[in-house]
Amino acid sequence: MLTVRGLKKSYGSKVAVDGVSFEIGKSEVFAILGPNGAGKTTTLKCVLGLRRPDSGEIKLAGSFSYLPEEKNLYPYLRVKDTVDLFERIGKNFKREKAISSLEKYGIDPKLKVSELSHGMKTLTYLSLVLAEDVDLYVLDEPTWGLDPLARSDVLNALRSLTYEGKSVLYTSHILSEVEKVADRILIMKAGKAIIQGYLDDVKASYKLVVSERELDGYLLKRTKKELIYLVRVDRIPEGVEVRDASFEEIFEAIVRGERDVA
């Protein structure tokens, strides 16, 4: 569906994306995670051709639609006029799908975009982007500003796209949400991919180790007497206390960690 190899992009002397590679299969939800400024949005923009990569290879087989990070629609247009606009410029826009999605979220088509709350604006934009019948949906922070119920509806909507053979590439800050919906993840830090794979495999690959001395691993925290490390399951030393690691702990330890891994 999508293959990215060795993607690099700098803005002036600032390296935004530094050699990122990943691929997304059919019917997959792929999430890019990472702290602010990690290079997530730039990666999406390169995939979409909105930024020209300095080097690397991007192969996208199929059509796509895109939800940008800034959910800017024309503020003076009514929601229904915005639907008309998307229908005119869209490639394969399903009007009924957009209308029924707006109805589900309780958005009055007669309202002007400027009268919508942040969450409502996100839901409106998302309804329009998901109404495009395409192969890959590229969504930058699709649940930004949503309440828990709306967020859950959106996650279900993303998942049902994959039931129809569509793929989703999206970015998020919210780990608990990613755990619910992503097949594969890529964690970025300072432009680099520091970890990636099937979420289930990532979870199974690490344990927490409670140790009194320093050892080889990502330090999660230190107490007065102990050090708590995140360690790959195949590198756990003998005779230490081992505990399960949550995805949040894996993320925190690796993103905070000073060591980088390939």
Partner: protein, 123 residues
């Protein structure tokens, strides 16, 4: 078909699905030769991704718990109960290790086992 999936558990979701299905077979709610829901239908019921259910089914086929009927779907195979039970035994072993570390005596553990099984060690 439904059982609860804990998305925030450190146990992979496909593992949770495999264990859920094994428990349904062990409790007799799923019988030998019976069809499982399609991958899509179970994914919808549990609120998980297609690939995750597909992986669980694939591994259950490898373990001999399920069989593929071409063009029809997955059915419960004739599996030894011990194979289905082994994940529970592993869990029990881990709890027992914790009990040992916590200083609970073997006699006490056996007492609890008798209590649960209701008498003279029969099962």
């Amino acid at each position: 078909m439904w059982f609860r999936i804990d998305f925030h558990s450190s146990k992979p979701i496909y593992e949770q699905i495999k264990e859920g299905i094994k428990l349904l077979v062990l409790s007799g709610k799923l019988r030998e030769g019976e069809f499982l829901p399609s991958i899509r239908s179970l994914a919808e019921d549990l609120g998980v991704n297609l690939n995750t259910v597909a992986r669980a089914y694939r591994e259950l086929v490898m373990e001999g718990v399920l069989e593929v009927r071409r063009g029809e779907g997955y059915v419960v195979a004739n599996t030894k109960r011990e194979v289905l039970q082994s994940f529970l035994e592993d869990a029990l072993r881990n709890v027992l290790k914790d009990c040992k570390t916590a200083g609970i005596s073997e006699e006490r553990v056996i007492e609890i086992v008798r209590e649960v099984y209701g008498g003279e060690g029969g099962c």
